[in-house]
């Protein structure tokens, strides 16, 4: 028996050692040869490769991870390949939620994609790991060589990936959240559209009492489920003039207290579905699209679906900027999220990578994606009549879109989101507790993240 166990142990040990040996060798090989998949293996240094790619027209393969299939241009780089026959772009879809973990794993193994898409909030943490390439000099060249295409881009395209004085990629798309409401119900009830968050509550109560809402229909829809990041909550905080210090929201402030009170009132006045605390973003959107909610805060990318499933724009629904907090009009600001294309530190062909980014944001390429999905930071596309026809709400919202601020973030952003999620859920389940006391408790947790 003992001999058999010894035998088994030896086999296991050999197996483990073999695996360990394989993994470390593989990593080294990957790091030295696989990245960039350069056909000519004689060049070892990235700089040499770069020189070769630009001078010799050497064949280059770049890997690009998109966070959603919808972001991939319709032609799937066909035109790009025609224009750049020596560069092959291989695409894959790695969900945004998985992007950081998958990228870091591949990066540590020396097998990272050249460009990948992630939430803009992840940039500080990725920067801490020194995993991102600084594209500043490439962009300076771009601006000098092709100012026309460069100047079409809104500042957010670059700001969104900027951290510690370096630009790590390009924000090709930017998604603002707007306030949507059922204008048919508002008209029927004789209500003005709310300009402040107080008006939202008042018109919600008026709608509730008007008899226009049937059983199962509510004045407002929110996302408060645990399986969604509290992005809408944060967006409303920002619209209310919420402040951030080093990317961390300050909840123990006037705006923070007001936001907590707003959510408590929604619950107390039964303006939201009683199960909202378990709702996903899909259920919140579904409530508005399915005519079960009269108001909501919804991202621009969902509007084409609302247009298709609820009604043409203006018939039953209208979009507007988010309301402001009474007395804090000057602190109101439109806000947006972005899912920039960021560049790996390991790239060997910065010029080729720049060409891919230029292609993705080129008017001819990005127009189609912006029309059917997320708005772009290419100002030419966003001000075309064609775009306004495809997305009629944009004509009125073009100006705030241009001024939209990104949701601030920090290296501890994921932990901040956990605290905010708990704060939001606690607020809804404790509608009678003092907002200042709730804010104080959770602010302490946020401060501890340091």
């Amino acid at each position: 028996m003992k001999k058999n166990l010894l035998f088994l142990f030896v086999f296991l040990l050999i197996g483990m050692l073999t695996l360990a040996a394989c993994s470390s060798n593989g990593g080294e090989e990957d790091a030295s040869t696989d990245e960039g998949s350069v056909d000519n293996d004689s060049n070892d240094s990235g700089e040499d490769n770069e020189q070769a790619s630009s001078d010799d027209g050497e064949n280059i393969t770049l890997t690009v991870w998109f966070g959603r299939g919808d972001f991939i241009p319709e032609d799937n780089f066909e035109t790009f390949h025609e224009e750049n026959p020596n560069i092959t772009v291989e695409t894959d879809v790695i969900p945004l939620e998985q992007s950081v973990s998958d990228f870091i794993r591949n990066f540590n193994a020396g097998n990272a994609p050249d460009i990948f898409q992630t939430y803009h909030e992840n940039i500080p943490a990725l920067n801490t790991q020194n995993a991102l390439y600084d594209m500043t000099s490439q962009y300076e060249e771009w601006e000098a060589n092709d100012p026309d295409s460069y100047n079409k881009l809104m500042p957010q395209a670059f700001d969104v990936t900027s951290y510690d004085g370096a630009i790590h990629g390009l924000g090709v798309h930017m998604g603002p959240r707007w306030h949507v409401y059922r204008n048919d119900l508002f008209e029927e009830a004789g209500l003005d559209f709310p300009e402040t968050w107080d008006d939202v509550i008042e018109s919600g109560i008026a709608l509730r009492d008007s008899g226009l809402l049937e059983d199962g229909q509510y004045a407002y829809a929110i996302v408060a489920g645990a399986d969604n990041a509290p992005n809408w909550f944060q967006s409303q905080f920002q619209a209310m003039g919420g402040e951030y210090v080093d990317g961390v929201p300050q909840m123990d402030t006037e705006a923070g207290h007001y936001l907590i009170d707003f959510y408590q009132t929604l619950k107390k006045e039964e303006l939201i579905h009683p199960e909202s605390i378990s709702w996903t973003s899909g259920e919140m959107r579904g409530a508005f699209i399915g005519e079960n909610a009269a108001m909501a805060t919804i991202g621009d990318n969902i509007f084409p679906v609302i247009k298709e499933d609820l009604s043409e724009y203006g018939e039953k629904w209208v979009a507007s900027t988010q309301p402001h907090r009474p007395g804090a009009e000057d602190k109101w600001r439109p806000n947006a999220s972005s899912w920039p294309m960021v560049v790996s530190q390991d790239i060997e062909h910065p010029e080729a990578v720049t060409k891919v980014l230029q292609y993705l944001i080129d008017t001819e390429t990005v127009r189609e994606v912006a029309h059917r999905y997320q708005p772009t930071t290419n100002s030419e596309v966003m001000t075309e009549q064609e775009y306004f026809e495809a997305k009629p709400w944009q004509e009125e919202l073009a100006e705030p879109f241009g001024e939209a601020e990104m949701i601030p973030s920090s290296t501890v952003h994921p932990q901040v989101m956990s605290v905010l999620l708990e704060l939001m859920q606690y607020t809804i389940t404790n509608p009678d507790e003092d907002p200042a006391s709730i804010a104080e408790t959770y602010q302490a947790q946020l401060d501890d993240l340091g």
Binding site: F7, G15, A20, I104, T128, D227, S278, Y426
Partner: protein, 302 residues
């Protein structure tokens, strides 16, 4: 000639015996390698990682001794998760074992179409966790949920199953039990089928009641299988993840954030990989400890 043969046969017999003994190990080697690669390697790496600080906010991977463990056991979110997990596992194991035993006995007694019903009872086990979660979400929804419709029919008040922390825990236990009981039934059924039926017949002739049959004959004789069933129920419940995440996401208010969900959130939402590994070690510890306890109990009962 024969002497020479005998002389030379010594080492050759030894080597032939060695070869014979080696064959099973050689044959099992690919499987061992596979398990070692997929599981052992990951587990050992995870255990090692729990002694380092590896997260996206830290440069490098400093060795931090037991700091991650100290952090976890002083962290209210983890302690809440641990407590909730213990309740979840205890309820799942108790309900799962009772139901599994009841179904196993029923299937044992089902002579007509027995195979069909055995196959049918396995269906929940074959359904994916996400599909189970979606099904339970619809069943327990407030507006269109089947359960609330039934309550409404009887004039009872609507229950917000998924919005109430305690009800949400109950729903996750039910969804978990629904998925893991079928395999428990298989384990227990195999134990019951191995019992000589003459034992039951003799006991009935001697005037044993049904309860006597259950407690004096059936349960003692299937105790090894009960041990295996308990290990399965505990393992499956402690590791439960794929149903919980789409069903409640760990909420409301972390009420269903069991250890596996907490581990996922810490490691892949907050990018604190070492802390996630530490939670993995805690789960592993509970699984191994429970298995040892079960095996000890049922071995001594045997």
């Amino acid at each position: 000639m024969s002497v020479n043969q005998q002389v030379t046969a010594g080492p050759s017999t030894k080597s032939s015996t060695f070869r014979k003994k080696s064959v099973p190990y050689l044959l099992i080697f690919p499987a061992v390698l596979f398990v070692a690669g997929v599981l052992a390697y990951a587990v050992i790496s995870g255990i090692l990682l729990s002694f380092f600080q590896y997260d996206l906010n830290t440069i490098g991977r400093p060795f931090v001794w037991f700091q991650n463990y100290i952090y976890l056991f002083t962290n209210s979110a983890f302690l809440n998760s641990l407590m909730r997990s213990i309740i979840f596992v205890a309820l799942s194991v108790i309900i799962g074992l009772i139901l599994g035993l009841a179904f196993a006995i029923s299937l044992y007694r089902t002579t007509k179409y027995g195979d069909f019903f055995k196959g049918l009872s396995l269906i929940p086990y074959l359904v994916s966790g996400v599909a189970t979660a979606v099904m339970f979400r619809f069943m327990f929804a407030s507006d269109v949920g089947l359960i609330n419709m039934i309550l409404d029919t009887f004039g009872l008040e609507q229950v917000l199953f998924l919005a109430d922390p305690n009800w949400a825990l109950f729903v996750t236990v039910l969804a978990n039990v629904w998925g893991i009981v079928p395999f428990t039934v298989l384990i227990l059924l195999s134990g019951i089928q191995a019992i000589d039926s003459e034992l039951f017949e003799a006991a009935i002739v001697d005037g044993a009641s049904k309860l006597n049959l259950l407690f004096k004959i059936l349960l003692p004789l299937i105790s090894p299988m009960m041990g295996i069933a308990l290990i399965w129920l505990s393992f499956a419940s402690f590791n439960m993840f794929d149903v919980i995440l789409p069903l409640t996401g760990g909420g409301p208010l972390r009420a269903t954030e069991y250890l596996a969900v907490y581990m996922y959130n810490v490691a892949f939402t907050e990018f604190q990989y070492s802390l996630g590994s530490t939670v993995m070690v805690v789960i592993l510890f509970f699984n191994v400890t429970l298995s040892v306890i079960y095996l000890k109990i049922f071995k001594s009962a045997e």
